[in-house]
Subunit: 181 residues, 2 copies
């Protein structure tokens, strides 16, 4: 057992939604005292960095209600329960951009906010894109617009905070570090 | 008004905690239909990349209850309401590592999980660290251990997923891209 481990004394389920669950755990701390932890449960998410044949990156522009603003992000979506991340990756790519791929490489994975949420995010990259004749319908409450940018344009968008989320900032830095564009 | 904007019809407050608030908004979509959005409200967070005089990076090892595991992360903490990010940065650096600084540079900022949370995270860097004679007490429910790593060691920890969260993966990639270590 890890010396800093916090033993759960009691779990209170607060909310069970479509995207998140919220519970409050009473825990025993390493020093024997007790405290409460607010925990967001999430099924995980997958993002894709799609590189076109002429070396541009595909992004989606999307309104984000939690921020009350529009962000430009790499295509991404929530994993269904028990789903393999590659399956989520292809589905979200198809729904959000109208392209598909059978060539995905894992770039990295990380927990988005380990202090209060268990969301694990996978990031894949592909430069093998095939345009679909008939793109599948996406979620009926999701409205997105595709944007193609060069890496230099994407870096400027990061500076301007039009690109401003963890996975997309990471993706732009990753492509910069790769030095291939 | 943004063409994808979602107008709030009704807000239901579900939970008001120490770290997060949860509300469910009923929204009008761009096509006139309605949907629900689960929104986590968070006051924001600040992280610091602390570089020592002998070119190592200071990390903290910490048990993360949402994941039921221990992660190695750069020092970070939640902003108090209305607090400037630099103030949070210095406080968390002092509490978690016992060092202070009066020289912070902003690396980037990003939203951790824009699909369901409004948490904005700032990342600073400093190579001007001063050891405190008497480090301040941290939160009384927080138990951390300091770890010094070279950049090569940190990259290996990323591969081994002992470093496995958005801000710290970003920090390691940033230092790699900088090419200075």
């Amino acid at each position: 057992m890890d010396k800093f481990e916090e033993r759960t004394i009691k779990t209170e389920n607060i909310f069970d939604g479509k995207v998140v669950r919220l519970q409050v755990d009473e825990v025993e701390l390493p020093n024997g005292k007790t405290s409460k932890r607010e925990l967001i449960k999430h099924s995980g998410a997958v993002a894709v960095i799609p590189i076109t044949k002429d070396n541009k990156i595909l992004f989606v522009k999307q309104y984000r209600k939690p921020l009350e603003k529009t962000l430009i992000e790499i295509p991404a979506g929530k994993m269904e329960e028990g789903e393999e991340p590659e399956v989520t990756a292809v589905r979200e790519l198809e729904e959000e951009t109208g392209y598909t791929t059978n060539d995905l490489s894992l770039v990295t994975s990380f927990y988005s906010s380990p202090g209060f949420a268990d969301e694990l995010l996978y990031i894949y990259i592909t430069d093998q894109l095939e345009k679909l004749d008939t793109p599948p319908d996406g979620d009926d409450d999701e409205f997105v617009e595709i944007i193609e940018l060069t890496l230099d344009e994407a870096k400027r968008y990061v500076e301007e905070e039009r690109i401003h989320d963890a996975k997309t900032n990471y993706a732009v830095l990753y492509l910069h570090a790769l030095g291939r564009m």
